[in-house]
């Protein structure tokens, strides 16, 4: 059975028409993480089926350590949202509920290579000269 319902698929397709450049979802899974891992993989694969500009690349976290390190992945399931460039955007866990909308937004923004932030904030961000790691904890509500 699909995780994305038909009526939702129509809306998601519509939303993804805002995409300009192709986006790749680099998904890391591991067979040991059965409770959520399988669903997360299925979700990103179903999602990618809804736009020609969206593709999924699945990697096994346990067997492909080099790729995981390359993307700085230390836990799974993990999904990197990137176009030609990796902006440092990661999702850990199943992006369900509200976080699914967040994932769609991330895909569209990355596709357009535009954060959509106000100019004044873009400027402030450009002046940061030290590594900044933001970990936003959420729950599936």
């Amino acid at each position: 059975m699909g995780l994305i319902r038909d009526e939702d698929a129509t809306e998601i397709r519509q939303r993804l028409t805002a995409m300009t450049d192709p986006v790749t979802l680099i998904h890391f899974t591991q067979e040991l993480n059965l409770e959520y891992g399988r669903e997360a993989r299925q979700l990103v694969e179903e999602l990618a089926g809804l736009s020609d500009k969206l593709t999924v690349e699945v990697h096994n976290f346990l067997l492909e350590k080099e790729t995981a390190n390359e993307y700085g992945i230390d836990k799974v399931p993990a999904t990197v949202v990137r176009n030609g460039k990796d902006y440092g955007i990661r999702f850990y866990g199943l992006p369900a509920g509200y976080e699914f909308v967040t994932l769609l937004d991330a895909i569209v923004n990355v596709s357009q290579s535009d954060s959509g932030l106000e100019a004044v904030n873009k400027e402030k961000l450009s002046k940061i000269t030290q590594p900044l790691h933001l970990e936003v904890f959420v729950t599936p509500t």
């Binding site: 440092g88 955007i89 850990y92 290579s113 954060s115 970990e135 936003v136």
Partner: protein, 72 residues
């Protein structure tokens, strides 16, 4: 889109993770996640709740100040 992800797009030094806390309970305990969203900055400081982009950015920048101004 989560502000953190938007922020990450503007500077290569920034990376942003959206973490489903119920799937990573050990991490949630380590970072004392009692309410969401909770934004943990460089593994130490944290901001609770959602806010407009300007306020969120200023709050994050404030946590970086001691490191950036360490020489004066």
């Amino acid at each position: 889109m989560r502000l953190a992800h938007r922020f990450a797009m503007e500077n290569d030094l920034i990376r942003a993770d959206c973490i489903e806390s119920t799937e990573f309970p050990d991490l949630a305990v380590q970072y004392r996640v009692y309410a969401v969203p909770r934004t943990v900055i460089n593994g130490s400081a944290a901001i609770e709740g959602a806010m407009p982009e300007g306020l969120m950015l200023d709050a994050i920048l404030k946590t970086l100040e001691p490191a950036e101004d360490s020489n004066g």
